[in-house]
């Protein structure tokens, strides 16, 4: 996908927010059918500044401040996509995307199917999601399971600065609707960012931390988005226990990369799925089931899940008790060692 290489000269280090901004800018420059719309995306540049400077550079029509109505925003995007545009919609926060749920599940997700392929909808729906930033009620939901459960939607979420750029480019280039979940607590995370790094295709997981050859391959952590750094930290901490953990960053929940995941799990025979959204009927349940179905004979222990509790997202002062922590992940890894 070389055509998607970034055109803006990026800084040597960038935040995830800057990488997303650059991806939007490059897409707008390259393709005149790309249009951004959402609340406060124009003059303000979005409450997280992801669209900063885009209205100034491309005009208010290409980066449109809309009235405050999520169903209206997404429904309007449907009509725009029907007529040849490639809308990129910003939902201000996870829980404020719910008014648009009707448009999403009743139309966006199934228009291709309803029209026997005649009316595809290339819409990207960007949603800042997840907790850990001290946000008050309705600012910290992890809504991926609702979207992943809806056939017809791609669901992707970057865990690194580079992937934020690459996945967003691929999402905008996709001819299908993509729910693009931005882990808001990683917006300000920084990394070296090589502009010519290959752009990941949608649907490909990546082994973010490989096993160290000969060091005892203990377990595989399967995770995505906001939980990726926590898992990497847990893997580092696990060394002290003499454990070697590989970490798989799923990146794309739909489509799901069984191949990469199963290869990584077979290498260790043990797996822990980690995500911060509620565990019950969550994405982790699907992953655990898939791994069990495909890797049963390779597994030395059941697939475990470390997730948020099955409660409405707590107020900021208590959120640390809810979110998966390094300790909880290490406890799960310890439970997997039952036969040794």
């Amino acid at each position: 996908m070389t055509t998607l290489a970034p055109q803006a000269a990026p800084a040597s280090t960038a935040t995830m927010a800057q990488a997303l901004n650059t991806a939007l800018r490059d897409s707008l420059r390259e393709d005149p059918t790309v249009h951004i719309l959402g609340e406060d995306v124009g003059t303000l540049g979005g409450v997280f500044r992801i669209t900063d400077g885009l209205a100034a550079e491309f005009g208010a029509d290409r980066c449109l401040d809309t009235p405050l109505a999520e169903a209206g925003i997404l429904g309007t995007a449907v009509g725009m996509a029907m007529y040849g545009l490639r809308p990129v919609v910003e939902m201000q926060f996870d829980a404020f995307a719910y008014p648009a749920f009707e448009q999403l599940v009743s139309h966006v997700a199934r228009m291709r199917n309803r029209t026997a392929g005649r009316m595809p909808l290339p819409i990207t729906i960007r949603i800042p999601y997840g907790g850990g930033i001290g946000g008050v009620e309705h600012h910290s939901d992890s809504s991926e399971a609702y979207y992943a459960h809806t056939p017809g939607l791609h669901v992707v979420t970057p865990g690194t600065v580079g992937d934020a750029y690459g996945l967003l480019r691929s999402a905008i280039a996709s001819d299908d609707p993509v729910v693009f979940l931005e882990p808001k607590r990683l917006y300000w995370s920084k990394a070296d960012w090589t502009p010519d790094a290959p752009v990941p295709a949608l649907g490909k997981a990546v082994v973010r931390r490989p096993l160290t050859p000969g060091s005892g391959d203990t377990a595989t952590l399967l995770t995505y988005g906001p939980s990726l750094p926590v898992c990497l930290e847990a893997a580092e901490a696990a060394r002290a226990e003499g454990w070697d953990l590989s970490v798989v960053d799923l990146r794309s929940l739909v489509p799901f990369d069984d191949e990469t995941v199963c290869a990584a799990v077979r290498a260790t025979g043990r797996a822990v799925v980690v995500h911060e959204s509620q565990g019950f009927a969550g994405v982790g349940a699907e992953i655990a089931a898939r791994v069990s179905e495909r890797c049963f004979h390779h597994l030395a222990a059941p697939v475990l899940r470390v997730t948020g509790f099955d409660i409405p997202y707590p107020p900021p002062m208590l959120e640390r008790h809810h979110l998966p922590s390094v300790d909880r992940i290490l406890d799960a890894v310890a439970r997997l060692q039952w036969e040794q």
Binding site: L68, G72, Y98, P99, V136, L318
Partner: protein, 377 residues
């Protein structure tokens, strides 16, 4: 006769297919209603005027202190209503104790004006719980963050009260941006169809975060939105505390007497940024803000009441002292770190916790015990 007691308002229920209501009496006045600076001020009860002034002063201090608390890290976030105090206090003073208030996240001052303890009103924004006060004790729904979603609740509650034979009125507070949401329109429509005793107060402060009203709505005024739903629209100067109190009181009386719902648009201005985390300099000019500072509800009221001989130095000093006392109390309250029980996470998810929640609570309890032991060692 005001537009609110026009006879057309009382033809209910209408015939199928006949025009349901005469639109003319539903239309708001061409100009926002004002009392300060007009002859009507002389007719107002001086006691009421002094009371409104006192509440304005205390309300302003409350806003300032809450913003300071965010700077000190004692409040997670505060959406200030500085500049909008007249609307906030009228929301409280126009209601009876038996009425209900349905506030948005910017309406903590309205909540406090209705008698809720400042600490309880600010628990959501402080970050220790989702709602600090008991909704039934105060007849105030929890502060709603998803915009306009509380408006249909107000309609339903008002309808239920009417079904019970009570004369309760529900007041829903919505921002100008919130009027674009589907829930707002559905609420107005239900209110009209059910003839529910509900009042909607739109605090039009000019902006939804960065988006000015001109990009929000092409309606002649937001009050005009009422007409399409067959309900009464009223337009008031939101910086004139006496006018807001009077228009809102009339609207509440109208709804209470069974004449139907009312939508009041109060034209006001948010003098501070959207929240302490917002940079208002990105979307509005200092000149614009300075212009509105000239119409700040507080000095406006003080000047007119002094001119009318209703207010003197003694009252002004007394109000200032009361405001300072509130600020002191707030500082003292927030000085004390809240003690929160992590296990409370599981207590109110269901009436009876599910087996899964019991298991998770036990897991957390074990973790906490292990941490405590490690800490003691």
């Amino acid at each position: 006769m005001t537009v609110l007691d026009h006879p057309a308002a009382q033809t209910w229920p209408p015939d199928a297919h006949a025009p349901r209501r005469d639109p003319a009496p539903l239309l708001p006045d061409a100009e926002p209603v004002r009392v300060l600076g007009t002859k009507a001020l002389a007719e107002a009860d001086p006691e009421l005027l002094r009371e409104l002034y006192r509440r304005l002063v205390v309300g302003r201090r409350y806003n300032q202190q809450a913003t300071t608390l965010t700077k000190q890290g004692s409040l997670a976030v505060y959406p200030s209503s500085t500049g909008q105090e007249a609307c906030q206090i009228a929301a409280a003073t126009a209601l009876r104790a038996t009425d209900w208030l349905f506030p948005s996240y910017r309406d903590t001052l309205a909540v406090v004006s209705r008698g809720v303890d400042p600490l309880e009103a600010l628990t959501l924004l402080r970050g220790n719980a989702h709602s600090g006060y008991d909704p039934y004790e105060h007849r105030i729904a929890p502060l709603s963050t998803p915009l306009a979603t509380q408006a249909p609740h107000a309609v339903g509650l008002a309808h239920a009260a009417r079904l019970r034979g009570e004369d309760t009125v529900a007041l829903a507070l919505v921002g100008d941006g919130g009027t674009s949401e589907g829930d707002f329109h559905e609420a107005l429509n239900f209110a009209g169809v059910l003839n529910a005793p509900v009042v909607f107060l739109v605090q039009n402060n000019g902006y939804a975060i960065s988006v000015p009203l001109s990009k929000q709505s092409a309606a002649p005024t937001l009050a005009h939105k009422a007409v399409g739903y067959g309900i009464h629209g009223r337009l008031v100067d939101g910086n004139d505390a006496v006018a807001v109190h009077s228009v809102l009181s009339d609207a509440v009386a109208h709804a209470r007497s069974g004449k139907g719902p009312v939508l009041v648009e109060a034209i006001t201005y948010r003098l501070e940024a959207h929240t302490n985390a917002d940079d208002a300099g990105r979307y509005r000019t200092p000149d614009e803000v300075a212009g509105w500072q000239q119409r700040d509800p507080l000095p406006l009221m003080e000047r007119h009441l002094r001119e009318a001989g209703v207010l003197g130095d003694a009252e002004v000093e007394q109000a200032a002292a009361e405001a300072e006392a509130l600020a002191d109390r707030m500082r003292a309250m927030f000085h004390v770190k809240p003690e929160l029980d992590p296990l409370s996470l599981f207590t109110h998810v269901y009436a009876e916790p599910t087996p899964q929640l019991r298991e998770q609570a036990a897991q957390l309890a074990a973790e906490l015990a292990a941490d405590a032991e490690a800490g003691a060692r």
